[in-house]
């Protein structure tokens, strides 16, 4: 098996970026024609990678990862820092954090630039290591300064992982309000907005009473297609021939085209004239599990009391509602929604459920074989159920 060096990992990801060039091109075209673009999909399909690749080379991106926004003040700091990166080079920003006596002249000049462009208060926040509780009130000011900056230069605000705050009960960051804050400024200032995240979070942006109702272009991403994997494998094995189509089909059937699992399996198959069978490769990966399956089950149980059981059933291809009394079906529905939002389950098509990570699914059911997605059976639609 080829050793997973940093170079190989980079090559694996780079080739996948190239193979998904069509997705990248769609996104770039959307950004040209719309001021507000959204990208969504199920968990672990590589949304952040595709978007990052589409934005490569651009110097106008303010990227905010809501996974890191632990408080409103921290969100303000993230915005301030990302805005500061538009104004001064990263190295200068890093040096600017040194004590006054240690800063080189380039860093002092950088601080002066930040003070002038953002104001002393926002510049200070950008250079802070973490936000203080007082910084909770600074978010409107930071957004104002960013909006004003967009009058003087191109700005694309990319808010990633829209679903992140909804994963924690009583999370202090209100994504809906953040989007209204961005909308009110975008109506008055010329910046572009790119939102990305799990499909479950799209209603935060585009529901009937949400900030961007009717004002967006959403792109749905799916796992890489057969054609994309074919191109990927051809590039990965070049100049040697790639494995046979039947081998590829068998592998993708086992991995469900899950990007990271498929890449791991392909990495394991490299450097062999005759790669091991897909079943052997996947079996090897499952055996080398450092405890992720156990952790996934534990996570499922913390999300909902039915969580662990549902993940196990769905890993076996059993419908989540089979044998469930009607009176309890709403509870199952809520559990499914929680597990999906957390990324443990995937809803690839209406009424179909799979465990997101195929290695977890295989480890739970104990058999290395393709199974069909679990279907919702005997399920009565509850119009009041919030999905």
């Amino acid at each position: 098996m080829a050793e997973l060096t940093a170079e190989l990992i980079q090559r694996l990801h780079h080739n996948l970026d190239a193979a998904r060039e069509q997705d990248t091109a769609r996104l770039q075209a959307a950004l040209q024609s719309s001021h507000i673009v959204g990208v969504h999909g199920e968990a672990e399909i590589g949304i952040t990678s595709v978007v990052s690749h589409a934005l490569r080379g651009r110097s106008d991106v303010v990227r905010i990862d809501l996974d890191k926004a632990t408080s409103v003040g921290e969100l303000a700091r993230l915005f301030a820092l990302a805005t500061a990166r538009l104004i001064v080079p990263r190295t200068a920003l890093g040096l600017a954090r040194l004590g006054p006596g240690l800063r080189p002249s380039s860093a002092r000049a950088a601080i002066a630039d930040l003070d002038r462009e953002l104001g002393v208060d926002v510049a200070h926040l950008a250079l802070s290591d973490q936000a203080s509780p007082d910084d909770d009130d600074r978010l409107p000011i930071v957004l104002d300064r960013l909006a004003m900056l967009s009058e003087r230069r191109d700005v694309l605000i990319w808010v990633d992982h829209l679903q992140a705050p909804s994963l924690t009960p009583r999370h202090p960051v209100d994504v809906g309000q953040l989007l209204w804050d961005l909308r009110s400024r975008q109506q008055r200032n010329p910046f572009r907005l790119l939102l990305s995240g799990h499909t479950v979070a799209t209603s935060e942006a585009t529901g009937p009473n949400a900030a961007f109702y009717g004002a967006y272009q959403w792109l749905a991403l799916t796992r890489p297609s057969d054609d994309q994997w074919t191109a990927y494998m051809r590039a990965l094995w070049a100049p040697s021939p790639a494995p046979l189509p039947s081998w590829r089909e068998d592998l993708l059937a086992l991995t469900g085209s899950h990007p990271s699992t498929t890449m791991l399996a392909l990495a394991a198959a490299l450097d062999h004239d005759r790669p091991a069978s897909p079943q052997d490769l996947v079996r090897r990966l499952v055996r080398n599990d450092p405890g992720l399956t156990k952790r996934a089950l534990q996570h499922a149980r913390t999300l909902h009391r039915l969580g662990g059981g549902l993940v196990e059933r769905i890993s076996r291809g059993e419908g989540p509602y089979v044998g469930v009394p009607k009176a309890q079906q709403n509870t199952v529905g809520r559990a499914l929604a929680d597990l999906r939002r957390a990324g443990l389950l995937t809803n690839p098509a209406p009424s179909q459920w799979t465990v997101t990570n195929p290695l977890t699914a295989i480890a739970l059911r104990g058999i290395v074989a393709q199974i069909q997605p679990a279907l919702e059976e005997d399920h009565v639609e509850d119009p009041h159920l919030v999905s």
Binding site: A29, Q32, S33, S34, L139, P140, D174, Q177, L178, W180, D181, R183, S184, Q187, R188, T206, N209, A211, Y213, G214, A215, Y216, Q217, W218
Partner: protein, 288 residues
């Protein structure tokens, strides 16, 4: 006259009002553009603070004081001319007595106290700030338009905010005009319903559709500015597809422009327009 714009979302309400405010400012008027959806607004005091800050930035009050200094005796006479109005308003600001009312300087001191350089920790009263604006508008005879976008948020606050706004709206001859708009039709209908403080007959104004005769020359001119030739028939094709909806129309035009530039065409032919329409209809914002 005060106005409520209550229309479907994405029809262009904010754009229309902003264009009006821009025109007002170009002729020396004052336009205050406030979006209540911003998270900085959590109470009537937050709104008052923002109105005061915007008025200060627009030199409201300062300008009128300067005018009065230059005019001298004439100014006092002018001030006396609006005494009957000023007296009522000035009381709100703590300026009492006939003698004080005739002294315009004291009135403007009171105005400045509300919208001058105030402590950022101060929590001004909405009624006082609105009274100051009204006084300033009366003396200067220059209209002040306060645009409250996403005004349905007023329902979330202490009802005193609605009462203060309603009080400021009571005179039909005032130079202080309020424009309201919002995205939540149900909440807006509730806010301006009969029996509510802000209810007024004739407040609601419909947003008229843009006529083909207005679309056509404007879009032809816009395309020409980009070096692209469009004909009235081309524009009509776009409008038929978009139903004349402003955003959908502009989406088709934007895509058509991109196609024209990418293919090096300087003429919007039928094929290009149809492709642009197809692409626009594929967007989520286009209703199915």
């Amino acid at each position: 006259h005060h106005v409520l714009l209550l229309e479907e979302r994405r029809i262009g309400k904010t754009s229309i009002i902003r264009a009006v405010l821009d025109r007002l400012r170009s002729v020396g008027g004052v336009g205050l553009d406030i979006d209540l959806s911003d998270s900085r607004f959590e109470s009537p005091e937050d709104l008052a603070f923002e109105i005061a800050a915007m008025a200060r930035a627009a030199a409201v009050g300062v300008r009128e004081r300067g005018f009065l200094r230059r005019q001298g005796a004439k100014a006092t006479k002018a001030a006396a001319g609006v005494t009957h109005v000023a007296a009522e308003i000035a009381t709100t600001l703590g300026v009492d007595g006939a003698g004080d009312i005739k002294n315009a300087s004291k009135i403007f001191d009171a105005v400045q106290a509300q919208i001058g350089d105030i402590d950022t920790a101060a929590r001004p009263k909405l009624s006082s700030v609105l009274a100051a604006l009204e006084l300033a508008a009366q003396f200067s005879d220059v209209p002040i338009i306060v645009f409250l976008d996403e005004c349905q948020r007023l329902l979330e606050w202490d009802p005193v905010a609605q009462q203060d706004l309603a009080f400021a709206m009571r005179r039909t001859d005032s130079n202080l005009v309020f424009v309201f708009a919002g995205s939540n039709e149900r909440a807006l209908t509730q806010l301006f319903a009969e029996g509510m403080p802000l209810h007024r007959e004739g407040l609601r104004r419909p947003v008229s559709p843009i006529l083909v005769d207005d679309w056509t020359p404007a879009l032809i001119e816009r395309f020409a500015g980009l070096g692209i030739r469009a004909t009235p028939q081309t524009i009509l094709t776009i409008l038929q597809a978009s139903g004349g909806h402003p955003e959908r129309t502009m989406t088709v035009c934007a895509i058509a422009r991109t196609w024209a530039e990418d293919t090096g065409q300087d003429d919007l032919n039928d094929d290009l327009i149809q492709r642009a329409i197809t692409d626009a209809k594929a967007q989520n914002s286009w209703p199915s």
